[in-house]
Symmetry: C2
Subunit: 681 residues, 2 copies
Amino acid sequence: MRLSCRLPSIRFLPSYTRRIHHVHRNNSEMSTVNKSAHPFDKAQLEALLSRRFFYAPAFEIYGGVAGLYDYGPPGSALQANIISEWRKHFIVEESMLELDTTIMTPAPVFETSGHVARFADWMVKDTKTGDVLRADHLVKNVLSARLADDKEVRLGAQQPVDPAAAKKKKKDKTPPKVALDPAVAKEYEVILAQLDNYSGPELGELCKKYNIRNPDTDNEVGEPQLFNLMFASSIGPTGQHPGYLRPETAQGHFLNFSRLYDFNNGRVPFASAQIGRSFRNEISPRAGLLRVREFTMAEIEHYVDPEDKSHVRFKEVRDVILVLLDRHVQASGSTRVVDMTVGEAVDKGIIANETLGYFMARIYQFLLKIGINRSRLRFRQHMGNEMAHYATDCWDAEIENSTGWTECVGCADRAAYDLSVHSKKTGHPLVVRQYLKEPIVTEKLVGDLNKKLVGKSFKQDAGVLTKHIESLDESELLKLKEDLSKGNVKIETSEGMSFELSPEFLSIERKTFKQSIREYTPNVIEPSFGLGRILYTLLEHNFWSREQDKERGVLSLPALVAPTKVLIVPLSSREEFDPIVAEISAKLRRAGVFSRVDDSNVSIGRRYARNDELGTPYGITVDFASVQNRTVTLRERDTMDQRIGSIDEVIAAVTDLVEGSIEWPEACQKLPAYDGVQAVD
Amino acid sequence: MRLSCRLPSIRFLPSYTRRIHHVHRNNSEMSTVNKSAHPFDKAQLEALLSRRFFYAPAFEIYGGVAGLYDYGPPGSALQANIISEWRKHFIVEESMLELDTTIMTPAPVFETSGHVARFADWMVKDTKTGDVLRADHLVKNVLSARLADDKEVRLGAQQPVDPAAAKKKKKDKTPPKVALDPAVAKEYEVILAQLDNYSGPELGELCKKYNIRNPDTDNEVGEPQLFNLMFASSIGPTGQHPGYLRPETAQGHFLNFSRLYDFNNGRVPFASAQIGRSFRNEISPRAGLLRVREFTMAEIEHYVDPEDKSHVRFKEVRDVILVLLDRHVQASGSTRVVDMTVGEAVDKGIIANETLGYFMARIYQFLLKIGINRSRLRFRQHMGNEMAHYATDCWDAEIENSTGWTECVGCADRAAYDLSVHSKKTGHPLVVRQYLKEPIVTEKLVGDLNKKLVGKSFKQDAGVLTKHIESLDESELLKLKEDLSKGNVKIETSEGMSFELSPEFLSIERKTFKQSIREYTPNVIEPSFGLGRILYTLLEHNFWSREQDKERGVLSLPALVAPTKVLIVPLSSREEFDPIVAEISAKLRRAGVFSRVDDSNVSIGRRYARNDELGTPYGITVDFASVQNRTVTLRERDTMDQRIGSIDEVIAAVTDLVEGSIEWPEACQKLPAYDGVQAVD
């Protein structure tokens, strides 16, 4: 994650079009479902997420607090499943060292890391009400709105309105829409493409130049001021130890570097990983899960030799094609992306090194696996001013959603910044010591003082002389050697002392040095995931509604992350179904498939509709045939197909489906279609 | 967890004896290992935990902060495995509703819950240095030390020392050990058994009466003062919204009660569950993981009908035998425990209800499953003053360790306290509405005012009269009815107004009411787990050292929670072993068994010793025979037994062992003993 929290530059989409990726990799005729029949309806999705308690404003009954959300049962389960897959995909797959470090952090740590001075956003105050706004968001919102108005006016073929006349109408609640001078519109577009690159004072200038005011009050705003985004507290009963809640988990990794390095038996490269809560006291968060004050992150710190950032598994991802938006394109005021293999991007120097490229490809694979739409995912490189103070290169995985493109994963090369500053501050070396098979042999000129003589002659000043001689470089020593060969030499030190030396005081000779250990501060490549943002965009990408029933929302979450994998539905609450329901539950539990029973007193159709909203991919119905013949039906969420089979056949099929070893069409080959009279939808 | 953080009463053990439970349920001759050869050495365990980075002081290179710890790779994995089993044992098994709510909480929530006023400990200040001490800990430590000295002096057959003479020696670093008057010693013991029951002022009295001083300085201490244990912060850029870091996850459950109740289709009982971080600003924590300022909890809030606290699955646990220490025994100054089935304890009213008893039994089963020693586990009931303000009954699962008995799980009946206060404060009903099959029919006397007449006669005062009539109880209405039957009546309201009513103004009749919905605030049974405390006591219970090598520590963690299940050890770093190592890794990963490879450049013996310290239960050695015959050896950690088999046989056996479907003796029946010449230990 970046130190600066500013939003990525926004890309204007013509009009929002819904594109859902296909859940089934091998789409057969059978499983083709038209999921794009209706335009995406954000209000409908939000109503669903609230009704089914995916998440809700925290402290809702107390009126809520902006930027704080609670996850209910389906949201918690979805998050836990994403985390579980993240652990497998990254930690287990690459034997990373997992950590769990504290959130509460004493102030000196963040003073050293630079967060106390620089982890801040620019805010402006309404000059009359004192309301606080984020400066870059204000500029973005006002200019975007003017561009949108301009477009609407032009499409409506209206004549440009006289700005003076418009100003007179200021007291109206809704100001009239104004067309822009085409040159001005172009200026706005360039500003928006580069928005993340402006400093605070520059944002202030923009507000003045373009008369940008608080849209809620139409009042002017003051000069931008820095606001530190860390929550402050104090540790212990005396109040003498200031602390902050961490805004990222990264510092907890860096401070433990020596222990991790030992644990890894002194080998490099290796990675540490941590999943945990972080906090950012955002100025005025209004974007749901996309901008919150408390959030769960998953961070990897991969330690590499600064002189060798190759990756041993790079060949496995070389051919992965990514969508890239590099810094040069953005600097030119454009947001045009290119498709390119990771291999080519590294070869061409667009991505700085193999390790960075490797992780970008792995991030891409992870996001697709959990259900992010490939066509709405891009990697955007940070521009110079936008980059956090510690980073040398940074690419964000951005996911498109109804608010635009949102940074969901950052992938930064933090170089040696963090380890160096903590090491310097604490005096604790955070370094790698590499035993060299071939020692490095070097020769250099060395000045050797006759200690006995020097001590006797200069007494307490001998140290100053020694230090001075040690500080001399090759050419200075050469000059001194030459001078000494001619007789006594007078030496002036930087402390203003002078020493007269005869040749017997000092011999200057070329000596050979053998270095068998190379000591270096490793560089750090950091993939950093905002899990809440991924979770929200995943919900948007997988939401649609049925052609035949616009009101009925469906969440086509992959089984891998779906909160519940199988819903067990007894036809009614008659007791004779209980043993079969219990048997199926127990067998699924043994197979490691998470199921729930819904035996509530509503129709089967309503129960399935509820579970379509919860994203449950499969349903098993228990009816009278189950009691008589031990058969049950299996329903697939997206197609609403129903198949029939024995209890054990259906459990076997559903286990394979959930584990991903077969797809729905293959399940259909094993289980005949259900042609029962009983309508379940 | 209790609102009061005071330690449970301490039980004095003769001298610390090591008792390890057996990891294998069916102990055969083969797997019998003498794990109690050496007395428990706490310093040795702590050195191991630090060396292997189970956990370490957070911000160690900055000098650390008391009460904050970071978990390294084995500690994180152990914690994750405990959590994973907790999820299965509680959440999945009982279809609990999982939540993930925020840590940052606006102040009004904790004002309502009582935490702002009462979540506090008593602290005393050293009158000269200003050092802060927890009052109850001070009393405990000083009196315990005096009792220990007394015992030592008596055992040493020394004569009691004159206290006046002892006082003169005050300036010695170590004051002389003094024998106590037997009556005084008895007083100390009674105080210690009831320590959790003293109020702050009472603790102050004890300090004065027994001349209890700061042991570090021998200075007197001041009057006890309350110190609130919540970390304070503020939310948003203006600093106008004070907030606290939650000291428990519970409030996040309660505030979401209505949403959870809806999610559960309006059925009660049900439970919510949450695993997450909480914070308590402890006064001066010095007990390692047993008392920390930031910790991971797992909490269940089980909502029940206050009139029916039976549990549908109680019969499954009725015969579980628990070790109980009830409040009456403690009040009598004793710590004598009894063994009793949960069924009997509930029947006798020792445990208040079935649901509380059910969870105590489930907690007991969980703790044994992850490796806690049965003989060092007891349930202690809270005494009256000790109980948190919200609780009506509370039992702590206490685990014995080198510091005494430590509360690790609290199991409280919070009654309707929390839901009621939040409901009252916010006006949002947090209730259950139960549709009654048989409506409750009640009759009562009702006063019916003739509205038209009343309005006409009393105009704006009519409301006061209506309110007055509504407030009358049965007997008052009866009296009024009688009076009215005799003619006009003069009525005086509490506002001091008077009304003269004739009989036609008011008719008082008996009416029938039918109630088809019963509305009630559910009661809450709360099992609350401190995971760090469980983790630490688990490490103590499973640590021992080999008879033949005292320096070699072993952690006999059950495979269920062991950080790594299998260590793969190639004989040397020769490349020919690589494909077999890769094959075994891949096959174990596919079987869901977490393994690590140790191919570091040290002897196999040293690598196994390292993994004994990490608690890795099984090791697979790859040697030249593996390349030639595809055989590998399997080593068991506790016995150091070695068996041999084909790669697939060994993987199958180890998978069964890790899943718990077979024990080591059964594995030995399948795999012959390894009689190779190569010594691996």
